[in-house]
Amino acid sequence: EAGVAQSPRYKIIEKRQSVAFWCNPISGHATLYWYQQILGQGPKLLIQFQNNGVVDDSQLPKDRFSAERLKGVDSTLKIQPAKLEDSAVYLCASSPLAGGGYYEQYFGPGTRLTVT
């Protein structure tokens, strides 16, 4: 079974530029998550999709971050414009069933973003 795929693996941009990350979850997984992990901290949930609907985006900075999950499969997370404090690893995860916190999650390798 193929794992969660993410691209790019690394990205360096200047502040005020825009950036997009892509995630392909495990085939058949209903729930998809985007996390932000700042160095030395645990992952923080940004947004959670169930199929192509948003379940939780309470910690997504909506003035600069946006995400979509078209057709309930792939997802894209965008930052526009980026700030220095957005430097972090962006993790995508998926789980097979609805009810996100009740089941184990499968994580992709992450995208390390550096904003200069």
Binding site: P43, D56, G100, G101, Y102, G110
Partner: protein, 111 residues
């Protein structure tokens, strides 16, 4: 908002020794999960323990849950160099749709 807090923040032991990490949380949970993160394999799920369970085992891993004390522990027996990683507990509160991760324990196994 942070729910789980791991203790210690860092732990260094000799290969072959046992490693114990603790997690405390604040509100009632549906389940608690432990994950491992290293540079080679990213974040990997280890064990999920539900609120009505007290202990679970998986290979060299043993997890306990004490809901009266709102705490959990992860024991790794006979540690190996490959166990060097950061270990995170994550909690799913009752009725919540999401996991909340702690800050993690950085474990170093010395040869």
């Amino acid at each position: 908002s942070q729910q789980g807090e791991e203790d210690p923040q860092a732990l260094s032991i000799q290969e072959g020794e046992n490693a114990t990490m603790n997690c405390s949380y604040k509100t009632s949970i549906n389940n608690l999960q432990w994950y491992r993160q290293n540079s080679g394999r990213g974040l990997v799920h280890l064990i999920l323990i539900r609120s009505n369970e007290r202990e679970k085992h998986s290979g060299r891993l043993r997890v306990t849950l004490d809901t009266s004390k709102k705490s959990s522990s992860l024991l790794i027996t006979a540690s190996r160099a490959a166990d060097t990683a950061s270990y995170f507990c994550a909690t799913a509160t009752i009725g919540a749709q999401k996991l909340v991760f702690g800050q993690g324990t950085r474990l170093t196994i010395n040869p």
